[in-house]
Amino acid sequence: MTRSQQRFDVLVIGGGPAGVAAAARAAECGVKVGIVDDNARLGGQIWRSESEGAQTVEAAEWTQRLVAARAAILCGTTVFYQPCPGFLLAESYDGVHELQYAKLVLATGARERFLPFPGWTLPNVMGAGGLQAMVKSGLPVRGKRVVIAGTGPLLLAVAAYLRKRGAEIPIICEQTSWSRLARFSLALLGHPGKISQGFRLKGELSGVPFVANSWPVAAHGGDALESVTISRGGKIKTIPCDFLSCGFHLVPNLELPLLLGCQTENGYVSVDDFQTTTVPSVFCAGEPTGIGGVELVLVEGQIAGLAAAERGTEAQELFGEREKLRHFARSLDRAFQLRSELKSLPSPSTMVCRCEDVPYSRLRPHASWRAAKLHTRCGMGPCQGRVCGPATEFLFNWNPGSVRPPIFPARVESLAALDGQAKPEMNEVSGGR
């Protein structure tokens, strides 16, 4: 096992658009910057590159800026612990890395919310972004039938992408109502960029049935998915398919901000105009501060990077653009709220915690996430509640528990990596307790 110790003026956690923009702007200011991501390559989800290496123009430009500005890029590296303020511990396949920083930018992005329903654990039932990620990583879908379901604009983007890769899309099922969708579309009038996006998507998806008031009721198959039963406006229909691409909007990845003690409000990290969190020297940009689309996260990332590099005036120049884009973000949340019918999707035997195979019926009697965890092991598996946490919050109104290290599974030797050598801050921290 290798061990490294690196120091940065600005350390960025998360290699999606927000992180890349933050790191590039900061590095262009001449400070020493490092950017960390657990994926094999930069890009996060929205900018995930195709396996052949192709990226969107925007992604390529920003990545080039990052490289040109000589930021250190640490891919395949997962942050799991903060041993003391100013330090993060991260793990890669064959090493543990101590990352020291003066300023920290958290751009940890978001993940999909998965809701359980009978058959959702069958192989080839994936997230909406999940299937897209797999296809970008080389999974062939040409000639395959893919049902797309869930909620949010991501469904359309994924459908368009899959169709371009040769998939057949029998239907797109959006759980929200037609009236909410209509209101959302009206809200887009304030965002010309979004409207043209919308029209382009419409073109790319011509001929693909899109229905609102619709959601998956059950997935069927033996060793893998064979068909999906959906409800549309109360009517049931079963559709043979090869994949179900299903996600219910996004939840922010708050584990690292919470571990560091950042305050949150309504499920998002609280930040000021300069994207500073309530923890000194820690900034946050992108989805953890509010789900809002790639244009917004790019602006937030730049503001955070500039602020971290102490270029407040340059950061301020971007405030106006950010405000415009934030309007759109707020209307997203309202439009794609989850309807209560989705709470009755699981049957008693439907697995809710996939890591530990805990079915719905065993969870129902418990009053809280913590009690359920203690008595059924729900949330005690390697996903650490990232899948079952948002699901149970929705199903049972449980509040999530507190965050403890490691925030990703890490090797015992990595957790043991503090070698006890005196670091002045560390001694104070442990001695003062």
């Binding site: 396949y93 997230g127 999940g130 996939r354």
Partner: protein, 84 residues
């Protein structure tokens, strides 16, 4: 120019495009990544490293997320967390 990679999955050779992840290699050979605690077959769900359903053993190291690891020539992948 190398645009294909050969690795082994559960002992059998598999050819994948350059840039494919281990999770994709599993899908290409039609094999399930893991079996759950109660015996259900499982494959990738999130595609982005948080669900841990794509766990396999890579070169003897168990509990690796297949979707986070790029295939490399000669890599040995085994499923159900059985190290080689």
């Amino acid at each position: 120019m190398l645009d294909k990679i050969t690795l082994t999955v559960n002992g059998a050779p598999v050819v994948v495009p350059l840039g494919a992840t281990v999770a994709v290699a599993m899908a290409l050979v039609g094999q399930v990544c893991r079996t759950s605690v109660t015996g259900e077959p499982r494959g990738p769900l999130c595609g982005m490293g948080i669900c841990f359903e794509c766990r396999v053993a890579v070169n003897g190291r168990t509990h690796c997320r297949g979707c986070q690891i790029l295939c490399e020539p000669g890599m040995e992948v085994t499923t159900d967390e059985r190290p080689r």
